[in-house]
Point group: C2
């Protein structure tokens, strides 16, 4: 799981939508498609990209595969953001406090 894969995964708006949907609660690939106008293979491919980036993880349940947000990916983004804390605007200045714990 690399920084590069994460940002490339999030560069696609459809994938960010999928991720956002999963953040509201884990679900299987079919449920994810509901109301999304996306083909089954396209969804499968997007989930694969998200999974390889560490943003999402899967768990087989019978013939369904349940997907959920993987905190590991979010941690990497937080770390990336942390590198630039010197430039954070004042509104998130408080973040500085916790950054000590975030350093690799």
């Amino acid at each position: 799981m690399m920084e590069n894969e994460i940002f490339r995964a999030l560069a696609d708006p459809t994938r960010r939508s999928i991720f956002e949907k999963l953040a509201a609660g884990g679900m299987n690939a079919s449920s994810l498609r509901d109301g999304m106008e996306i083909s089954q293979p396209a969804m499968s491919q997007h989930l694969s990209v998200l999974r390889k980036a560490g943003l999402v993880r899967e768990e087989r349940q019978g013939r369904f595969v349940n997907y959920e947000v993987d905190p590991d990916g979010l941690l990497l983004i937080a770390r990336w953001l942390g590198k630039y804390r010197a430039y954070w605007p004042a509104r998130i200045d408080a973040l500085k406090i916790l950054l000590k714990d975030m350093e690799p």
Copy 2:
């Protein structure tokens, strides 16, 4: 400046390198190229993408153009990350405290 432009800008490793270099201190486009094996037009194009994404801002100084990190872009990422605070791993749990201030 949109969320989409930000993530797409950061999806390219060269652009993340440029951004990281700028985070160490503002400088002009030529200085940015030093030790980077990148053509002048390529650098100019990357800077344009970063600027349109709100990650970088420019200031003309004579015939040089000085670039520096734009905190606005970072704020957007922080906001995006904030949406998923429920999934942040324990190590950045402290972030929750400040999130009240980050909400739009």
